[in-house]
Assembly symmetry: C2
Homo-oligomer: 154 residues x 2
């Protein structure tokens, strides 16, 4: 029971571009391009995104950080552990709710994330080398917009 493909209909559904494969390929390449630019930062890109959110976002507690970054809360525990050990962030008790730990950047953490940011943007641009400057901006905007809307639905 074999279809030898000789009557594969041209213009059929198989020609729909495969968004899923493209996304996966981009993410894989993202890891490869960006990780080196981060040096020995704990947990690579994920650590960087955490630092960003801690420094400039509105998610100070570990659970809200975890939800926003899409990781498990048990993972967030030792992720923060390693960032603390590296001297980039600190855990503070929240006087208003002593169950929570407010995660804040140290001064060194802030300068580090600022320095890393430009390098990351650089790496991202090399990742999108096939696109024109205008297209890169479009892609950035569309990805952020689509992903942002997903966050709201959770």
């Amino acid at each position: 029971m074999i279809d030898d493909g000789t009557h594969a209909d041209p213009g059929g559904p198989g020609l729909e571009p495969d968004l899923g494969r493209g996304l996966l390929a981009l993410v894989r390449a993202y890891q490869e391009h960006v990780s080196p630019a981060l040096g020995d930062l704990p947990h690579g890109p994920r650590g960087y995104q955490t630092l960003r959110e801690v420094g400039y976002g509105a998610h100070p507690t570990q659970v809200s950080l975890a939800r926003h970054l899409g990781v498990d809360r048990t993972v967030m525990t030792y992720l923060i552990d390693d960032l603390v050990e590296a001297g980039l962030v600190e855990r503070r008790a929240n006087p208003e709710d002593r169950r929570q730990r407010l995660v804040v950047l140290t001064a060194r953490g802030r300068s580090e994330v600022d320095a890393l940011c430009s390098r990351v943007v650089e790496a991202e641009d090399s990742l999108l080398g096939a696109l024109t400057t205008k297209e890169r901006g479009q892609l950035r905007r569309l990805v952020i917009k689509a992903a942002g809307a997903l966050d709201d639905n959770r």
Copy 2:
């Protein structure tokens, strides 16, 4: 040694949109949206992408499939195993190089991938619900273009 953030410079580098986080969020959501649409297809989205490439691509052998899909060749072995067991593809000996196995769709595999394709496109569209129709087309085009260029460099 704490930076309390009160002098976080507005418009600083932290405001650069985080492409990496957006991509990761999109891929995660992709898995969640598309997997249900695939039913009990072995290996979910990855199995679907394999079927697509087998049916309509130019990568008939297992190693070329693995490279194109970005998976290890040892993984491709049992991925194909399960698709064979499901009756969707078959392994043929290549008379021109008997080291290789040519992977081909069965008739049932072909009708299956065709049927799944429209459902996948549907799920992808719901994933991009926040974007206009025009923007979805743009995103698709840009992602495919960027990812395609990456493939050429390997």
